[in-house]
Symmetry: C2
Subunit: 331 residues, 2 copies
């Protein structure tokens, strides 16, 4: 898996900004990787990149169209296919992390074959993972766990990697989802791994390492999310974290995709996540909270962070807004 850059970020008909979190991640963490964005009518997401047609992107050198939008269920619509075929015929590869695979779309396979371009389904595991053995291994690991899905876990671990590398520390972000894999070019598409091998896949992703090395493991799902909690559990038990960073979005009124479930609190998450992590690593500690304050004003954010920090007795920051320095200090 090695995607050619630069990218054209495809936002499709994303109904809201969260639906385009793949594109947002690429834009935020590899801003030099994309020449522009492509949007269909009705798209409500905007990366702040130049809007381009496929022909315009090809003319300025785009090598890969990256599908930066995720639909629940992951369907590739006919409107999308038209654009993807145009990109293949214009000499670009196409990469995606959707449940529905590019390679399974007959028209796309034909267009790729005809143009000599490649289809990359980063969602699909490409190796056979082992069953987890639960053995302790050298090196240190941080895992981000959230009160909900899509509340900033990937951003938190990417920001910590950036900060640790800037300090000369030995640290690697470990991607467990399609956005992270598209950003780093490597990782485990955990939600597409067969159940029995989930924890083993996480062990493979975070192997024994130097004593001073830190893995920054991207979290997935939430222990409180009925649809995906099993994936979160496998991350906790496969990742054997030494440190947990709790992630939260304070304006969310219900669990993402589950309008009948309220979002629980950091106070609920802390003891549960720690208890589960200590089953595999009794030395695990909760070291900080990462709050996604994107929906709050600066003053609201500071007030919320101060109140939360006082209540939790832990460093509480928005790593995207204010940097991850204090989360790294706490390690």
């Amino acid at each position: 898996m090695s995607l050619s850059q630069p990218y054209l970020l495809f936002l499709g008909d994303a109904p809201d900004a969260l639906a385009a979190k793949v594109a947002q991640g690429v834009k935020d963490w590899r801003p030099e990787a994309s020449v522009g964005q492509f949007r269909l009518p009705g798209c409500n997401a905007d990366m702040g990149l130049p809007d381009m047609s496929v022909a315009e992107a090809a003319a300025v050198g785009a090598k890969t169209l990256v599908i930066g939008v995720a639909n629940r269920g992951g369907v590739i619509s006919d409107a999308w296919k038209e654009v993807l075929i145009e990109a293949l015929n214009a000499g670009m590869d196409v990469a995606a992390g959707l449940h529905a695979l590019l390679r399974d779309q007959t028209e796309l396979g034909a267009a790729a074959a005809g143009s000599g371009q490649s289809l990359y389904d980063v969602r699909l595991p490409t190796v056979h993972y082992p069953i987890a053995d639960g053995k302790r291994r050298s090196g240190k690991r941080v895992l981000a766990v959230g009160t909900d899905c899509s509340c900033g876990k990937m951003y938190t671990t990417l920001a910590m990697e950036k900060e640790m590398r800037a300090r000369g520390m030995n640290a690697d972000f470990r991607a467990t989802g399609q956005t992270g894999i598209l950003i780093t070019g490597d990782g485990v598409p955990l939600d597409a791994v067969v159940a029995d091998f989930m924890a083993g896949a996480v062990e493979s992703l975070t192997p024994a390492n130097d004593d001073d090395h830190w893995d920054l493991i991207e979290g997935q799902g939430s222990l409180f999310h009925a649809s995906y909690s099993g994936v979160t559990m496998a991350l906790i038990h496969g990742g054997q974290p030494d440190a947990l960073v709790l992630c939260h979005e304070p304006t969310r009124t219900h669990m993402r995709g589950l309008p009948h479930y309220p979002v629980l609190s950091l106070d609920d998450l802390r003891p549960l996540a720690l208890q589960l992590a200590q089953i595999v690593n009794p030395d695990c500690r909760v070291t900080g909270c990462a709050i996604n304050t994107a929906a709050l004003s600066e003053a609201e954010a500071e007030a919320y962070l101060a109140e939360t920090e006082a209540r939790m007795g832990l460093p509480c920051v928005d790593p995207f807004r204010h940097g991850a320095g204090r989360l790294v200090d706490a390690l």
Copy 2:
């Protein structure tokens, strides 16, 4: 999926009785289904059925050779293949629930094609499951959760189904593993389902039903087992149990397959499993304990059950040894 009976139970070179739990389950819950057992040299399991060669089993009418032994990792050895090919050539189907698929073994595929017999891989999901929506649904559900893998969860729910049906109650055992599927001919092979769809598969298996209907959901793994805890979590959140039955094997010194992990107690399991279940069903209750006392004498078993019942304040029985009546009473 509809297997032809009677069976020849294949025990292979099972290193111990636990490795042959598939065969044991078929033998215990559908004793009329098998004409005999087939054992290779070195087999340490025994179902108490007549030992037969393939030819002898065919002569007394066996229709399907059922692989009743599971290896960690699920490899089909050359010694096994010889026997399976002999069975196909003798006019039997072959059914298995292993990770390694019968259909992927070239020699078996050829022998099946040549003989006109079928290969059944009950481990493989045959439908596409949805993502869980977490909505409450009508009917009642019991889920068995264990302190470890292989500690009696399937037996407990099968025994409760038997007892409830004997009382004229409206109840169905819901299989989530290969043994259960081989016994009932239906179910979800949960450990082979892709991570994102685990909880949705459990929702599909236990749909809305009559208000007086009970699903008896077979448990898998353990919240305390590093390799498989994610599967257990998906069962709790997909199954939305109204009642949890805690399962335990009191002589186990370490977690199955993980010699560096001690087995935790029912007292550890109770609050954790209940807290997680109440995320999706606030009315969930722990209603009893099922103790696998197979390794204890009658006197030891009675003493252990009495002590545990007094400590937990819940009905504590060995459903296989003493019946599931008190577990059903507690519902």
